[in-house]
């Protein structure tokens, strides 16, 4: 009887928790939406200007520059991390004590806070005293102004992201490799397929949904890059690395305290992220249907 009661009144018991979680998720979002329609700039009082902030952002060349460089960065590091991660996963997909140890060590970069990672790399990159330039000088290369020059600042930032986050897709793909059915590979081998053919025509297609999922997760995370830019370049040299998050921070709370304008840009970024997520989720669904 108790069981029937619970079965028939699920919403009553789930409702409060759902309402609690929904409130704390939706309230900040709604508040941000409202602020984005005002010209609130600390310490002045706010006044509704409706879509004035959105118009300003959409007609600001620096905002579009930030969008472009952020999307490019996120796409590039995600692709590279998937590729590198796949390689690492293949190397670790053999039972050995070394592989087990390396698997454990791979987690270390991911658990470091981004600020600590960025500070560490700032010292490594130091053009005068950094170990990186010292090692390169031993083979007659450099010195390089890693994050101070237009030609090298983006590769330098990407290297930091690659170092920290390649283990994530690597571990994901490794778990995928472990779950692949062996009989298909045995059949292919019997039929005369070599290792490369088995990899291209079996391994990759079977792992495609996982690869897409890993790409989506990394891409959305990479869009939020902030700490590395804040610690290393502060958006410089000039405005070369003024990524979206830093641009919003600068105008919203960091330098100009234009909270309304910052909120409007945040909403635009939210719409962008939501749109991209919808696209990838649809791709994933199609993959699943294909495989089914």
């Amino acid at each position: 009887m108790l069981k029937r009661f619970f079965d028939n009144h699920q919403l009553i018991f789930l409702g409060p928790v759902n309402a609690y979680i929904t409130f704390w998720t939706l309230f900040p979002l709604l508040y941000m939406l409202i602020i984005s329609l005002t010209n609130w700039k600390i310490p002045n009082p706010a006044r509704f200007i409706w879509f004035g902030n959105y118009l300003e952002a959409l007609t600001d060349p620096l905002f579009w520059y930030s969008v472009r460089i952020t999307l490019t960065f996120a796409f590039a590091v995600s692709i590279l991390e998937i590729g590198l991660g796949f390689g690492v996963a293949l190397l670790l997909n053999r039972p050995s004590a070394v592989a087990t140890l390396v698997r454990a060590l791979l987690i270390v970069p991911m658990v470091l806070t981004p600020v600590v990672t960025s500070m560490m790399w700032r010292y490594l990159y130091n053009p005068s005293f950094g170990p990186l330039n010292y090692v390169l000088s031993l083979v007659g290369l450099g010195p390089y102004e890693w994050y101070s020059r237009a030609e090298t600042v983006w590769p330098s930032l990407m290297l930091i992201d690659l170092w920290q986050w390649t283990p994530f897709p690597a571990l994901l793909i490794l778990s995928g490799l472990h779950s692949l059915p062996e009989d298909i590979f045995e059949s292919a081998q019997v039929d005369g397929a070599n290792a490369l053919q088995r990899f291209i025509f079996l391994t990759v297609p079977l792992l495609r949904p996982l690869l897409l999922a890993a790409f989506l997760l990394r891409f959305l995370d990479a869009l939020k890059i902030f700490d590395t830019v804040f610690v290393l370049t502060r958006g410089g040299p000039g405005t070369m690395t003024e990524v979206l998050s830093f641009h919003i921070y600068r105008f919203g709370i960091g330098e100009y305290f234009r909270v309304g304008y910052g909120a409007s840009m945040s909403v635009l970024v939210l719409l962008l992220s939501a749109g991209l997520s919808w696209l990838f989720v649809n791709l994933l669904r199609q993959e699943e249907l294909t495989h089914a």
Binding site: D7, F13, S128, E145, S148
Partner: protein
């Protein structure tokens, strides 16, 4: 839900338990500090009222001896109060920390001190002001326009006039120079401060930029001979901007890992602090002081910016993102022959742990006509939770700023603002470079970016465009024109100009 009967039951039982727990949890939390504070405030105020009545009517003369021997504000009724202080993470705070226990012992006021990195300090304070939470009773003010001008014009900090009036005469407010008084007052109208200017902050650390150089290089006979041969004059410590450029070029030898000069190039206020001295050296100004018309696109400002770009050619690698730390380290490691640094960093630049220990000299910035009044100060949060806390806050501020404590702090190396203290022979001899920097700021100082609520944003506009020029994104002229346009819009939005 496709699960076993037992699992489902357990799941619903768990949910029920959770729902029952949620209302209970807040009751388990400690009573909110606000509740406790209100309660305590009521009790204290009651006690204060009673004590004052007793003291005043029974023995009026007894009130005077309480503060007789003190050179700071003290009220025994404040014993038991607790104040929150937020200060920046830096030398000024480090020098102050040893005296906090003494203050607590002498007054009975408990001090909770929080240190925050300078880059994040203003954000935290502004968030506290706008929420009117009163989390901090004492806030740090900085002299980059985001301090007194911003906070005072926004109505966030207390006018210190009534607090100074109830402080013993031994405090000697006149011991702070005209430049310092003007920089810590609002409204601002130049140096000396205008009659309408009210004090809002007390400077805790006063400094400015000084010029340092490798004494050994300038006195080296080989260097002198080579310089004479190349430039046709004797190698001397530069006194003008032209001389500085020449000497910087002379000492730039990348193959020897030696560069002419090091200073910040990164996109923050430190590059502004270097640039503004050359702006004034070239007779430029940020804006017209009477009309607030922005003058960043003037020939003088463009010339100053172009000069910075010329100097930047003789800096170590990585200049466009060089931080304060990296610029000072370059000198400390013997990588640069000269530098323009904050006075308190002289020890870091040439102390015993450096490659240039005992080899550094210091002096005025070549060509400089005035120096920015920089440093940090302390102010009372208008949204502090009670008047008692504000009085306790003033007690702490006046204690730290008192002649007695300032003498000790400056002997320890703090760049304190009192003329009577930094003028002492033993203080001047203990840390000559730091003392020199304080003197310059006090006697030749000029407040900077005192543009009310937009001063800090003005600085941001300038340093962003300066960095664009240093990075080669734009020319000096374009950088200043862009900065002028942005700053003009800022001032228009703030109502400073039409």
């Amino acid at each position: 839900m496709p699960c076993a009967i037992n699992n489902r039951r357990q799941f619903y039982l768990f949910l029920t338990a959770l729902l029952l727990l949620i209302p209970i949890l807040p009751a388990c939390a400690a009573a909110t500090p606000e509740t406790v504070t209100v309660k305590e405030t009521v009790v204290v105020e009651k006690e204060v009222v009673v004590e004052k009545e007793v003291v005043v009517t029974a023995t009026p003369a007894a009130a005077a001896p309480v503060m007789e021997d003190r050179d700071y504000y003290y009220d025994p009724a404040l014993a038991g109060e607790e104040i929150s202080v937020v200060l920046y993470e830096g030398p000024g705070t480090q020098h102050l920390l040893p005296y906090v226990p003494q203050f607590e012992e002498e007054t009975g006021i408990k001090v909770n001190l929080t240190q925050i990195a300078e880059a994040s300090l203003i954000e935290k304070e502004v968030l506290d002001f706008t929420s009117q939470a009163g989390a901090y009773d004492i806030v740090q003010t900085t002299q980059d326009g985001a301090g007194v001008a911003y906070f005072a014009s926004s109505g966030w900090i207390e006018d210190l006039t009534p607090y100074l009036e109830k402080t013993p005469g031994k405090f000697h407010y006149e011991d702070f120079s005209e430049s310092v008084q003007a920089a810590t007052s609002w409204p601002y109208g130049g140096v000396p401060k205008i009659p309408e200017g009210r004090p809002y902050s007390m400077m805790q650390e006063l400094t400015t930029r000084i010029f340092i150089y490798r004494d050994d290089l300038f006195n080296d006979p080989t260097e002198k001979e080579a310089f004479q041969a190349k430039y046709g004059r004797e190698l001397t410590v530069p006194k003008t901007t032209d001389e500085l450029l020449e000497v910087a070029e002379f000492f730039t030898r990348p193959d020897e890992s030696l560069y002419g000069i090091s200073f910040e190039g990164a996109r923050d206020l430190h590059i502004y602090a270097v640039w503004v001295h050359f702006l004034w050296a070239f007779d430029g100004q940020e804006w017209d002081p009477t009309t607030y018309e922005v003058t960043l696109d003037s020939p003088e400002a463009i010339a100053a910016t172009d000069y910075i770009l010329q100097l930047s050619k003789f800096t170590p690698p990585g200049h466009s993102t060089a931080s304060l730390f990296e610029a000072v380290t370059a000198f400390a490691q013997g990588q640069s022959a000269m530098s323009i640094i904050w006075g308190p960093t002289f020890g870091m630049a040439s102390g015993p742990d450096t490659q240039v220990s005992g080899k550094a000299g210091f002096g005025e910035i070549p060509g400089a006509k005035r120096y920015l009044v920089a440093g940090v100060g302390m102010a009372i949060n208008k949204f502090s939770q009670s008047q008692a806390k504000k009085d306790a806050a003033w007690s702490f501020i006046s204690f730290i700023e008192s002649p007695t404590i300032q003498t000790k702090m400056q002997a320890d190396g703090n760049a304190g603002p009192r003329k009577s203290v930094y003028g002492l022979k033993e203080i001047a001899e203990a840390r000559p470079a730091e003392n020199f920097s304080t003197r310059l700021a006090s006697e030749k100082g000029h407040p900077w970016a005192m543009a009310g609520g937009v001063g800090t944003q003005f600085v941001n506009v300038v340093f962003t465009n300066l960095n664009r020029a240093i990075a080669g994104e734009v020319t000096a002229e374009q950088a200043m024109q862009d900065a002028d346009a942005e700053a003009t819009q800022l001032f228009q939005e703030a109502g400073l100009i039409e």
